[in-house]
Point group: C2
Chain length 363, copies 2
C-alpha cells in the first residue's frame, strides 16, 4: 500500500509509561502507584451505583467534583479545573498557555512527559540543568520564556523545592504561566497551592493517582486564578465536552470525605519510605532525600540496569530510565512493608551475587 | 490584575453541548441519549467491581476492550483505537491526520464540533453546502484537500448517505484520511466499516453513547488500517497514556456480549421514531427521513425557536440551533413511547395556541 496520507501525519515520539503487566503475582514498584486501596467509602458507592443513569451524558461542568475540591482546598469553585488524570490536565494546560514564540522552561531531568507534550504541540523548550545534588537553581527560571513547568517534588529524582524559591520564580514571570506539578506533594512536600490566590499566573496541578490510590479511575485537577481556569475550560470544551465519566466524578467526591483514611495511608507510606531508604544505604546505595512515594537511588558498584533486569527475573518491577545523567539510577515506588522486605532481600542477593561474579572475573 | 500571560493563551470558541440539567423531573430529548438503560450485565459487573484495583493504573493499551471490539467487528486488534467517547477519538484524529496546508472538507451543516476542532488545532477548512434536501453531493469532496470528515448519518439532519457514495469519496482521496463518523449508524444506516479492510485511508468512528446507552461512561472507538491506528496511538500516547478508566474498559467489553438486548433496544427506538415522525407530519411538520435516534423537523407555521422555548416551559428539552439554514428546525431525540406521547400532546397544544394567538393578532 502506498499510504499516501502519511505525509500529513503528526510526527511524535510518545511517552512510554512503566510496564503494566496484567497477569501474575508480582511486586509492582515501577509506576508510583499506592500500595493501599482507596477510601473504604468507594466500595459502597460503587455497589450502589445507579447504572441506569449511564445512558445519560455526565455533567460537562463536573460541578459536583469541582465544588467538593473547592471546599476541600478552601478556594472558589471558579479556581478548579478537573481532567482525566493530571496528564490530561497538563496536556490541556500546555495547549492552552504555551503559545509564545519564546521557549518554555523545565529542568533537564524531570517528568519525561513534558518534552513529549512540547513536541506534540510544537512548543519550543529549553531545559536548564539541575545542580549536582539534583536541585533546581531558581535563577535558571528568571529570564525571557514562554512558560514554565516544574514538578515539585521533582520526578524521578524525588527531590523537593522550598515554596519561597517557587514564589520567586512565579513573581518574576508575570508574563508567563508557571505550572507547578504537585503530583507527589502529599508525601511530605510543601505545597504552593495557597499562592494561587496571590499570583494570577500560577497554576498548581494535582492528581488522585498517587496519594488517593485512584490511578485506575483517572482523576486530576488544577487550582489557579479564575482567568486561568476559564481559559483551560474553553480549550477543554473545544477538545471534548465530557471527558470525565459519571463514576469517576462521584468517586472523586467520595475520596475527599475520608481525611482520616487519607492521612493514615500517607503516614504508612512515609514510614516505609524512611525505613527502606536506610536499608538501601546499608546495602551500598546512595539514596536522594525523598518527599515522594518513591526513592531514587544508585548503587556504589552494581549498575542500575543490572539490578533492574535481575529484579524483573524475580517478578519485582522497578523503573529504570536509560537516559543521560540518570542511567545509573533506579526509581523505586514505596510498596507495603511486606513488599519492601521482599524487595530488600532480593536486592541484597543481587548485589552479593554481582560482587561474587565480579570477583570471579577478576581472578 | 494585569493578566500579562493572556497574550499567549490559545483563543478558541468551545463547542456548546446541549443542556444537561442535573435536577428535576423532565423529558430530555436534547442530547440524543438512549432512553433505555445499558445491558443488564453492566449492573452486576459494577456491583462486583474490585475497587482495591483502582489504586493501579489501567492498561494503557486497553487490550481487553480492543480485543473484544476486534472480535465483535471481525477485524484485527491492530485495526481498533479506543478513546473517551467518540469526541476524544475525533479530536485525536484531527490532531493526528489533518496537518496539511490544504483545507480539510466537511459539510456546511453537520456536527458542530468539527469546526471547533479545526479552530483549536489551527486547521484550515472548507464547508461545501448540502443540497436543498440536506443530502451530500459526493462531487464536492473530489478535489484537493487535507482530509475529509463526514458524519453518516449526518447530524443534526438525520439524513444518511449510501455506502457507494462514500466509497467513491474514499477511493478518490488516497492522499487524505477520510473519517466517517458513524455515531448514529446503528439506528438503520449502512456502515462502511467493512471498507476499512480495502482502503488504507478510511477511518470509521463509533460511540457507545447512543445505541449502547453508555454516554455516562465515555467510550468511543475507531476502526481502520493498522497504519492509521498506529499513528493514532502514537499521538494519543503523546497526550495521555491512560485516558480510559478501569471500569469503562470492562463495561465496554460487557456491553458487546449482549447482542440480543442491543438489538431489542434499537428496534424499539426505530419503532418509536417512525411513529413519532408520522404524528409530527400530521401536526404540520416537515420531518427529514431519519436513520438515527432523532428527528430533524420544521413546522409550516410555528417558528422552531417558539416551540423550543414553549416546550422548555413544560420541562421538555429538545435541541435548537440558532444557525443559518437550520434556525427553523428542531432536533428531537427519540425517547420512550410514553415520553413521545407526552411530547406530542404538548407540542400539539403549543401549535394550537400559537395559531389562536396569531388569529387574535390578525383580527
Amino acid at each position: 500500500m502506498a499510504l499516501e496520507w502519511k505525509k500529513n501525519v503528526r510526527e511524535v515520539t510518545p511517552y512510554i509509561p512503566g510496564e503494566q503487566p496484567q497477569e501474575g503475582k508480582l511486586i509492582k514498584l515501577n509506576t508510583n502507584e499506592n500500595p493501599y486501596p482507596p477510601a473504604p467509602g468507594i466500595k459502597k458507592l460503587i455497589s450502589d451505583a445507579d447504572t441506569e443513569r449511564f445512558r445519560l451524558y455526565p455533567d460537562p461542568d463536573v460541578t459536583e467534583l469541582v465544588d467538593a475540591l473547592a471546599e476541600y482546598h478552601g478556594v472558589g469553585g471558579d479556581m478548579i479545573f478537573v481532567g482525566v488524570g493530571s496528564d490530561d490536565v497538563l496536556a490541556i494546560s500546555f495547549l492552552t498557555f504555551f503559545n509564545s514564540d519564546k521557549p518554555i522552561l523545565f529542568p533537564d531531568i524531570t517528568y519525561s512527559f513534558y518534552d513529549v507534550w512540547a513536541d506534540l504541540f510544537k512548543i519550543k523548550y529549553e531545559t536548564p540543568a539541575l545542580g549536582e545534588d539534583f536541585t533546581i537553581n531558581t535563577k535558571d527560571y528568571i529570564r525571557p520564556n514562554g512558560g514554565i513547568i516544574i514538578a515539585n517534588p521533582n520526578a524521578p529524582t524525588s527531590v523537593a523545592m522550598e515554596p519561597a524559591a517557587i514564589q520567586s520564580i512565579v513573581a518574576s514571570n508575570g508574563g508567563s504561566v508557571v505550572i507547578i506539578d504537585e503530583a507527589y506533594v502529599d508525601f511530605g512536600g510543601k505545597s504552593v497551592l495557597s499562592l494561587t490566590e496571590k499570583y494570577d499566573n500560577l497554576l498548581v496541578v494535582r492528581t488522585y493517582s498517587k496519594s488517593r490510590s485512584m490511578a485506575g479511575m483517572r482523576i486530576g485537577y488544577a487550582v489557579g486564578n479564575p482567568e486561568l481556569i476559564k481559559a483551560l475550560n474553553s480549550v477543554k470544551g473545544s477538545f471534548n465536552s465530557y471527558t470525565m465519566n459519571m463514576l469517576s466524578i462521584v468517586l472523586g467526591v467520595e475520596s475527599l470525605k475520608d481525611e482520616e483514611y487519607f492521612r493514615s495511608v500517607i503516614g504508612k507510606i512515609i514510614n516505609t519510605r524512611e525505613k527502606t531508604g536506610v536499608s538501601l544505604e546499608r546495602l551500598g546505595f546512595k539514596v536522594l532525600p525523598s518527599l515522594t512515594n518513591f526513592l531514587f537511588a544508585t548503587h556504589e558498584t552494581v549498575p542500575a540496569s543490572v539490578i533492574f533486569e535481575e529484579l524483573k527475573k524475580e517478578n519485582i518491577y522497578v523503573r529504570y530510565f536509560d537516559k543521560p545523567l540518570i542511567d545509573n539510577f533506579l526509581r523505586i515506588t514505596i510498596g507495603t512493608d511486606e513488599e519492601m522486605d521482599i524487595f530488600l532481600k532480593k536486592i541484597g542477593g543481587i548485589i552479593k551475587n554481582f560482587k561474587k561474579m565480579k570477583k570471579g572475573v577478576d581472578i
